[in-house]
Structure formats: C-alpha cells, structure tokens
Point group: C2
Chain length 316, copies 2
Amino acid sequence: MSRILAVGSVAYDSIETPFGKRTEILAGSATYFALAARHFAKVSVVAAVGDDFRKEDLDVLASRGIDVSGVESKAGRTFLWAAKYTDDLRGRTTLSTELGVFADFKPRVPPSQSAFPYLFLGNIDPDLQRGVHAGMERPSLVVCDTMNFWIEGRREALDRTLKVIDLLVINDEEAMLLSGEGNLARAAGAILKMGPKALVVKRGEHGAAVFGKGYLLFVPALILDGVVDPTGAGDTFAGGLVGCLAALGLGGRSALDETSMRLAVSAGTALASFTVQGFGVESLVGAAPAAIAERHAQLQKLAGWSGMKLPLGESA
Amino acid sequence: MSRILAVGSVAYDSIETPFGKRTEILAGSATYFALAARHFAKVSVVAAVGDDFRKEDLDVLASRGIDVSGVESKAGRTFLWAAKYTDDLRGRTTLSTELGVFADFKPRVPPSQSAFPYLFLGNIDPDLQRGVHAGMERPSLVVCDTMNFWIEGRREALDRTLKVIDLLVINDEEAMLLSGEGNLARAAGAILKMGPKALVVKRGEHGAAVFGKGYLLFVPALILDGVVDPTGAGDTFAGGLVGCLAALGLGGRSALDETSMRLAVSAGTALASFTVQGFGVESLVGAAPAAIAERHAQLQKLAGWSGMKLPLGESA
C-alpha cells in the first residue's frame, strides 16, 4: 500500500453557520486531508498540537488507520480558529485565530517516514514546506497547497517552494492573486511557468479544473442538498485527490496524465461532498467505502462519463 | 428544417468593460438567441424596434437566414440599455434603461408562424409570454426565460406562464429567488413542481446544470482567454440549446431526455463562448460551423465525454 506523508495543521475550530454552532471541534488541514486520503493509502501526519488536545480527537485519526506518530504534543494551546458563515454559506468572517503551539511549529520528518513516495505540503509557511521537502529522500510526487496569506506576505519563499513541487492545488482566487491575472486561463498559464507540472484550481461548489501537460479538464462538484458547513472541503478534496494518485501508483512529474487526474479529482470531489454535509469532520468520518463509491457514481452521471472506478479500500 | 419562433428584444446596448467601450450596438435577447439558434434551425423573431433602428442591423439577422418579418418597426426609440462592467467582468452596473417602443410592446404571432413546433419565450412580461403562447397552434416544445424583475414584480402572472411551458432556462440567482430556497438542489425541486418538466440553471463562467425527469446533469463552461464582454451570453446559450433540440427533432414534454439535453446544453455553451470574446454580437456573427464544432470538441475534452456531434449546418 502506498504511503503518504502529510504536513499541515491538526487543530480546533469553532464554527457558526445558519444550521448550527460547534465549539472547539476537531479540524485542521492535515486532519481533513488524512481522513479523506486514508480511503486510498496509508497516511502519516506531521503536525503539532497543544497539551490541551484531547486524546479522543487523536483517536479519531488513529482508529482509522492514520499514523499519528509524527504529531508532536507541545506545551501550550492547540491552534484554534473561529469563524461565522453567511446565510448562503458563500462568505465567512474569521472571528479569531489563536495560533498557539502552531506559531513556532517546526515540522520534522520522522526518519522512518523520510522514504515515503508521496508528499503533501499543506497550507503552512513556504519555508517550512521546503524544509519538510528537504527532509524527504526522494519523493516521487510532491503536492502543495497555499493561501493568500503566504502569496501576499511570503512571496519569495513561496516562489522557491513552487520550484520543488509537482502539483499545486489552490482555489481560483488564489490562482488570480499568485499570477496577477484576472483570467483563469492566463493565470494557469503563468503559474505553470513557476514550477509545478500541473495545477488544480478548486472552484468550491462549482467544481475543479486541472491544467496539465497538453490537457485541460474539469470535474463538477456534486449538487447537494443538506450542506451545513463548508469548512475543510478543500483539504478533504486534496486528500481524496492525492490518496487516489497514490493508490494508482502514480509518481513522477510525467505521470500526472489526464485520465488519472480526472479520476483523482473526482475522488477528491466525492469525499468533499461528505465533509460539507456535517459540521467539522462528523460526516466525513462516517463515510464508508460503499457510500463513497455511490457518490462517485452520482458524480459520473452528473458529468457524463462512465466506467471509472475509484481505487477504494486500499487502506488498512 | 425545424422552425422556431422566438419572442424577445431586438435592441441597442451601450457597454463599457475594462477592454473597451461600445455605443448603441446591436443587442437584445432575441438577437443573441437567433444568431445562435440559426446554426441548427430556421428562426423567426417576433420583436419591436423603433424608427431609429438601422437597416444594416436588421440585415445582420436577415443576411444570416433569420426571418425578421415579425420584427415590427414602430414610431419611437429602440430599447436602449447602458451598463458598465467591473474589472473582473463578474459584476455590472446598469447606467440607464430606456424602454422606448418596448414599453408598450404587444407581441403578435404572424399567422404564417403560428404552427411552428418550437417556441422560445424570451425575457419579457409573463402575461405577454403567455399571450404569444396562446397565439401558437400547438407547439411541441415551449422554452422560457425570465428574470428577477418579473419574479419579484409579476409573480402571479409568472406562475401562470410556468404552467404552460416545458423547459425553464434561468440562472442560479433567479432559481433561488423563484423558489425561496438558498440551496440549488432544493430550489430545482421546488421549481419543477411549478410546471416546467425540466429546468436548466445557468451558472455563467462555471457552466450549466439540467434538472430533468430522473436525471441531473452538468456541463462546464469553456475556460477561455480573451473574454471582453459577457453581455448576451445567457441568450446565446438559450439559442444554441433550443436550436439544437429543434435540430434533433425533439418535441413534447417527454422528449427532454438526458442525452439530448447534454448535447443541447453543450451546443449553447459552445455558442456562448464566442459571444463573450467580442463586444455585442461581433464575435458571435463571425462564428463559422467549423469553429463551433471545434469549440464543441474542446468542450468534450474538458468535460470528459466523447463521440457527441452537434447537428450543425441544418440552417439555410
């Protein structure tokens, strides 16, 4: 079974949407990523939590076959983000961001994990991303996420990171900001000159586009009833995507072919459809392989393909 | 060759976008509709223009095989709309709306056109739409557009119109407003109880969804460089869609099947991709069948289908 090392946040969120409110629930980019990717591959998480982090929350990951030996517990508070969404769930206001132990998080790759072939660099400081990359022996596929905060504030460091990755996964607003282009097609062209061999642009409820070598593809999002909390959808999407690529055994910069990327993006899309239907990870953790396959079948009907099959059940 | 009667506006627009400015150029919902639909079927337009309407603008339609015998010339000014778009082309401000002769437009179906099998009710007062419908003998497919203005101001009249149509084509904002639902899946479910047998929801640059009997499908928009003016994209889309359905020979409420609707929506999408790449109709009028087929091939690659072929070249 393929092994993925994922660095990012394991955190708490306090979330309010028109459908309810939750306080200090399990969250974080690496959490969502791992809970999605574990359906396809064995995931090891590198992160830091505070001494307030509840054991039962670590067990949510560990009991599902996710390797949490790289999650360091440090004196201090766990990263806590609080936000309130607008009535249509399309906008949100950050109420507070308390970095806690995440403020001086220096991720270290455990020696036993340095030879893993798949590396996911979650949304952290680009220098830290590159440090994790340097701690790996020779990953065959490096996937990276980033956000406006780093694009605006740490551009030179980010430019260096972009040169060592294979696949960048960001949303359309970030693609515009990173490229300085107001048009997505031109933005993607500019970004592909910065280093990545392929670019996935997430468009939320509308779907995702892949700009690859010699191809351009689009996968719609499922049109869902019962959406209650969009938090974590993007990280879940990345987890399904990278997990699927790992299960397919795809490594190397030339391997991000069109057919595999369509399947991988549809895997991410299917997984993310669960995340948004519950607060935090509550719907995602309950998604069984049969239910994921059913969502994927719905997605195929929506998009008009047939015959694709997710490499589910590769996990322990 | 199938015949379509289309009622709507033939008008002038004054448009400013970050890419330029045009004053009093040929526009209107029926204009865009007809210039797209004519690639698949014979279109007759019912509209009213003022005595200021330039003959060369009517010739833009007539010289392309569009029947303009139902376009009445009346004393007064042609409908003129002026708008300015935001830098990202996603928002716009209406600067002025001068209804002119459109203010007391009472569309009449020419007797020679009352037996046409396909009817497109463009975005006008719902009572006028129903009047046109009543003037037709027994259309086998009735497609309707509407907008916020009628949904908010003429709801009872609109409700009556919705009961006589087969297919409603609106954007997602209008679908939410019409249904009172904040979620698209629920909005569509509610609208399908109001009368239409199928619903097409336009999502602009993101694509379009069809909610039909026993199916749900999505067609992405092309990811385009060189977008300069989005005006008329929705009307062009409707023209390609209805034209394609007419060329396929689809009439009757049971005929809006999934395969045909996917092809028809992709026809509309391919045509609309030209409209947005020029001001007004300047790019649309120059789109040759081979170029439209090429756009459709690009769309198939983007969406991941294969083997579909547009019924192009059915026009005179």
